[in-house]
């Protein structure tokens, strides 16, 4: 059996990779990808706690579903904004849009 | 009786409302609106002395700051602030000074052209602020009215004056803002520790020891109050804003500023410094005496080497406020009475002195001592006023200035002869700078009038504004020499000032009776 701490560690590592990517990359699409990674780390956390938490129950999985929906929503809006920007500026590089 | 004091405080608005509706004749309405408080003030004067009512008060429930879950049945007045006004002799003295000076300043502002209604409206709001803070019975209301005066004065001084007025306005705002920040901190601390801001209740609680403040809190409150009013007074390192105000802003506003607003410091230190913390005041009096002497000498010495008449009067004010601080710092009955007397009398004196500044400015466009000379031939009336104002300022007997400084120095000799001696030297210095200024202006050849006939712009109207009602031009058309002739709105306030200065000098008991309670 894999312990809770293993899940939490993996989630933390994924989260940190995502955070690093979001803060360091200049390509907007990569930034969106990194944010997705962070949200997936969150999901992993929630689901791990659902099974191995101090008070295991189902609502964590419900939150995970919501998080997935919201992640999709944010990316949809992000891409829409990116598209309008691309129309005006012909670039998606964060350094060049300023 | 209820509501009477509110009527006094808001009396400027009774006719002032008209300024919002009527577009023309703003100066008439302004003068009328400032005259009404004079009537109300004299009514209170009559009640106070003729009927022997010692204190008039008014109270309405206002705000409660009960925390959540507070049992309001146990002590309903805890952490509540009421709308409380109270008038005693000292307040009344300052109130009368305020209404008088505002009325005279409004008369002197007769030919303000630029946004005239706004000017008078701000003047009336300023008057409300001043009246309110002298009758406020609690610190909260005092603070509200205090801030109101600062904001109104900011707009007045930034808009009406000559070059450099905006800088002066910002100095005023930030210095006074810093002062009020300290005051606010002190008030909030007191409020939380004692549960009330009512001055008499606070006095009762603090003196009987039913509320024990720890040393740190107590001293931080005392020091905050000292700094707050020290900036207002102004005490030596914080005086720059006041000099700027005096030398760049329209004289009518300076009359109010120097005459009444600086006296808020006297009133505040007396009420909240000595009144609430007499023991701490005694412990710190040595330091205050030192600052008072620094003020006297610094002000006098700097006044000696100023070339601008307005700056001479400004530094002179610094020196005179030093005497006020000296009297308060001594803490004895004579000292305090002297300080209060000196405050009122200095209010009148600086009113007269800046009225002269206004007269000279309209006629000669400058207050530079180096350029002005020979006024004795050209404007004998101005010279007469200068001599009366100057003599009163340097404390010649039979003028009100003498009584105030005499009382203060008398009190100083009682306990600290050395301080008394030094302060007397300060008076000698005052003689020096005042005579230097007056003599160099009055004697010598008459300067040629600057500018050609009809082209010189009036000082009162702003330089860049369209300049319709030019008083100067009007005079020229009537073929009268404007240096010799005076308009009603110029000589009338001057005569009033002279009468008051000499009257108080001859019969000071009239004013001292106000301070019996002190």
């Amino acid at each position: 059996m894999v312990s809770l701490s293993a899940y939490l560690t993996v989630a933390l590592i994924v989260f940190c990779i995502g955070l690093f990517g979001a803060l360091s990359h200049k390509n907007t699409l990569i930034v969106f990808l990194s944010i997705e990674l962070m949200l997936n780390a969150v999901n992993l956390n929630f689901i791990a706690f659902t099974k191995y938490g101090f008070f295991p129950n189902i609502s964590g999985q419900v939150i995970a579903l919501f998080v997935m929906t919201v992640a999709a929503l944010e990316v949809a809006i992000g891409l829409a904004i990116l598209l309008t920007l691309y129309r005006n500026k012909k670039t998606i590089d964060l350094d060049e849009i300023y | 009786m209820a509501g009477n004091l509110s009527l006094l405080v808001f009396s400027p608005l009774v006719f002032g409302i008209l300024l919002l509706v009527v577009r023309k004749k703003g100066n008439w309405i302004g003068i009328l609106a400032t005259f009404f408080p004079v009537i109300v003030g004299s009514f209170f004067f009559h009640q106070y002395f003729k009927k022997g009512i010692q204190s008039i008060s008014e109270k309405w429930p206002w705000i409660s700051f009960h925390p959540k879950g507070f049992d309001s049945l146990k002590d309903p007045s805890f952490l509540t602030i009421d709308y409380e006004l109270q008038l005693d002799g000292i307040s009344l003295a300052f109130i009368l000074l305020t209404v008088l000076l505002t009325f005279l300043a409004a008369i002197l502002s007769w030919n303000i052209e630029k946004h005239r209604n706004l000017y008078f409206l701000l003047l009336l709001l300023l008057e409300i602020g001043m009246l309110g803070l002298f009758v406020a019975a609690n610190l909260f209301l005092f603070f509200i009215f205090f801030e109101m005066t600062v904001v109104c004065l900011f707009f007045l001084s930034g808009k009406y004056g000559e070059k450099g007025k905006e800088k002066a306005a910002f100095h005023l705002l930030l210095y006074n803002g810093a002062g009020s920040a300290f005051l606010l901190f002190a008030i909030v601390l007191l409020f939380l520790q004692t549960g009330t801001v009512h001055i008499e209740q606070l006095q009762h609680l603090l003196h009987t020891g039913s509320v024990q403040l720890n040393e740190l809190t107590k001293w931080s409150i005392v020091l905050s109050i000292l700094i707050a009013f020290g900036i207002k007074m102004p005490v030596f390192p914080f005086h720059q804003w006041m000099v700027l105000m005096h030398s760049h802003v329209h004289p009518a506003i300076v009359i109010l500023h120097s005459g009444v607003l600086l006296k808020i410091a006297t009133y505040g230190l007396f009420r909240f410094g000595i009144g609430l913390f007499p023991n701490e005041w005694e412990k710190i009096s040595g330091l205050l005496l030192f600052f008072a002497l620094v003020n006297i000498f610094y002000g006098s010495l700097f006044a000696l080497r100023q070339m601008d008449l307005r700056r001479v009067w400004a530094y002179g004010s610094v020196a005179h406020m030093g005497f006020v601080l000296l009297g308060l710092a001594l803490g004895s009955e004579t000292g305090i009475r002297g300080a209060l007397f000196q405050s009122i009398s200095h209010g009148l004196i600086s009113g007269l002195l800046f009225l002269i500044v206004a007269l000279i400015l309209t006629r000669f466009k400058t207050t530079d001592i180096g350029k002005l000379s020979g006024l004795r031939q050209g404007s004998p009336f101005a010279v007469f006023l200068l001599f009366v104002g100057g003599m009163a300022s340097l404390g010649l007997p039979a003028t009100s200035g003498f009584i105030g400084e005499f009382l203060v120095i008398l009190a100083a000799f009682e306990h600290h002869p050395m301080v008394g001696t030094l302060a007397s030297v300060g008076i000698v210095l005052a003689t020096g700078y005042i005579l230097r200024a007056i003599l160099s202006i009055s004697y010598g050849p008459l300067p040629s009038m600057e500018g050609e006939k009809g082209t010189t712009k009036d000082f009162y109207s702003d330089f860049s504004d369209e300049n319709k009602g030019n008083n100067w031009k009007w005079n020229m058309e009537k073929k009268r020499d404007p240096r010799v002739t005076y308009e009603v709105y110029e000589w009338l306030p001057a005569i009033v000032f002279v009468l008051f200065l000499i009257g108080l000098g001859i019969y000071p008991q009239w004013l001292i009776e106000f301070f019996v309670g002190a």
Partner: protein, 486 residues
């Protein structure tokens, strides 16, 4: 199980939702040639209906429905009042806007998105569950992303929207990460049960999880209300968005973030006891320091700004600091003080941005535009003066009473750090005089560059009148600002 809920406590939300759907359907069904102008009035009507329904609910005691996920308590009452009031004002602002303000292209979108944000905010104030809190927050965030990017032909706006979106989603991820730890300790999403479970867990390791969770939650949420450490997006976004949207962001979006944080602190953190420590006290000092930092940063940066929108953005960081200090002090007064300050702040900042958006066409808001405003349009100049005086916390406006209440609540905390925060707050308000009064000075003391009078429309007058009247009413009679039902 009893499923007969007291649905009437949700009627204010329902009426907003209905209005959203109605506007959406009408926009699709109506022929193209019909003017969409009146959608604004429809939205105002819906908000009024909601407001009326809300007022009928005021006498109710604490009511909870949907298995305790939706509660209607004094907290919800207070903040719903503020939200509905602010929402009405924002709608009036949009309805009364001129052509140059660039509203006519997006009639339907703007109102729908604004109402969605309002709906989300109202859900947050009432929700008693982590999931609904999160969903409410996302409703507000997502609609504000779109609102910011609405003027899609402007590069500046595109840039602002992208900055806003990326910062926002990063913040969401961080918030969620914090929430996941808190969920892990408590094993529930219900805020009341949270509290019980926290205290039952005695494992010392959970303490660290708790601290990490709280920190992440705080950092993520600080994005929303623009305080340190997540506040640097504000000036760019405020500048790039249309001014009407900026008004929405500064008043509404900010307050919603704070409400959520306040709700969490109010019900969970302040009461949690672990190892004989009240957990909140661990964070209290650092929160106060952060509050102090953001007021200093905001005010200091605002002094140098020449663009009024950027200036107000920095000032909103500073005000976020004041409010955070009020929340973090967590004395007996803070609830009342912060509620009051929210109300006042949302009113005056909406008022100020109304005028800014009205006299500056489109996006640019250079300080030059304000020169000599008193000469050309005295009404706007005087109104703006009142708002700025109120923002600067000067009497006799409501801003002063708000400042006073916050000060009481901070100093009541009693420890040295509270005193330092209070002194810092007073000092910083003095610093803020410098820039507020600079703009006022240029309005009153200088002459206009061009003699152009701004015509003033009726909805604008209503809005300004409402803002000013309420500012003075609750400034002079503060007991009105904190009715007994709060």
């Amino acid at each position: 199980m009893d499923f007969s809920y007291e649905w009437h406590v949700m009627t204010p939300e329902f009426s907003i939702l209905m209005t959203i759907i109605l506007i959406g359907i009408l926009d699709v069904l109506l022929p193209k040639k019909i003017d969409r102008k009146w959608f604004g009035w429809l939205a105002v009507g819906g908000t009024f209906l909601s407001f009326g329904l809300f007022l009928t609910l005021l006498p109710l005691d604490r009511t909870s429905i949907l298995f305790d996920t939706f509660i209607f308590d004094s907290f919800a009452k207070g903040f719903k009042f503020i939200l509905l009031f602010g929402g009405t004002l924002l709608l009036l602002l949009a309805v009364g806007s001129k052509k140059e303000q660039g509203m006519e292209k997006y009639e339907m979108e703007f109102y729908v998105l604004l109402l969605t944000a309002l709906f989300g905010g109202m859900m947050i104030t009432s929700s008693n569950d982590l999931i609904t809190l999160f969903i409410g927050l996302e409703l507000v965030s997502v609609s504000s992303y779109v609102l910011v990017g609405m003027n899609k032909w402007s590069k500046k706006t595109n840039r602002a929207a992208l900055t806003f979106l990326m910062n926002g989603s990063l913040a969401t991820a961080i918030t969620l990460f914090g929430m996941s730890y808190l969920y892990g300790i408590a094993g529930t999403t219900q805020l009341q049960t949270f509290l019980q479970h926290f205290s039952e867990v005695s494992n010392p390791a959970t303490r660290y999880l708790y601290i990490i969770g709280f920190c992440f939650l705080f950092i993520g949420l600080s994005f929303k209300w623009t305080t340190m450490p997540f506040s640097l997006w504000a000036p760019d976004v405020y500048e790039g968005a249309q001014t009407i949207v900026t008004a929405f962001l500064s008043a509404f979006s900010k307050i919603i973030g704070l409400i959520m944080f306040f709700r969490l602190i109010f019900t969970v953190f302040s009461e949690t006891v672990l190892d004989q420590h009240v957990m909140f006290s661990i964070f209290q000092n650092s929160l106060l320091i952060l509050a102090l930092l953001s007021m200093t940063f905001g005010n200091m940066m605002a002094i140098g700004q020449r663009n009024v929108k950027r200036l107000l953005a920095y000032s909103s960081i500073a005000h976020g600091g004041y409010m955070l200090a009020g929340i973090a002090s967590f004395s007996a007064h803070s609830m009342e003080a912060v509620t009051y300050y929210f109300l006042v702040y949302s009113l005056i900042t909406i008022g100020a941005f109304t005028i800014v958006s009205y006299i500056t066409d489109g996006n640019e808001a250079d300080e030059q535009t304000f020169t000599g405003l008193f000469k050309t349009t005295p009404l706007l100049a005087i109104s703006l003066t009142i708002f700025f005086i109120s923002l600067a916390g000067l009497p006799p406006t409501a801003g002063f009473i708000g400042k006073w209440k916050l000060l009481i609540s901070i100093i009541d905390g009693g420890s040295p750090i509270h005193y330092v925060t209070a002194i810092g707050m007073i000092g910083m308000t003095i610093v803020s005089y410098a820039y507020y009064f600079r703009i006022m000075a240029s309005m009153y003391f200088q002459y206009p560059n061009k003699e152009e009078k701004f015509s003033v429309r009726l909805p604008l007058v209503i809005l300004l009148f409402l803002c000013i009247a309420v500012t003075f009413l609750i400034g002079l009679l503060p007991n009105f600002g904190t009715p007994t039902w709060i």
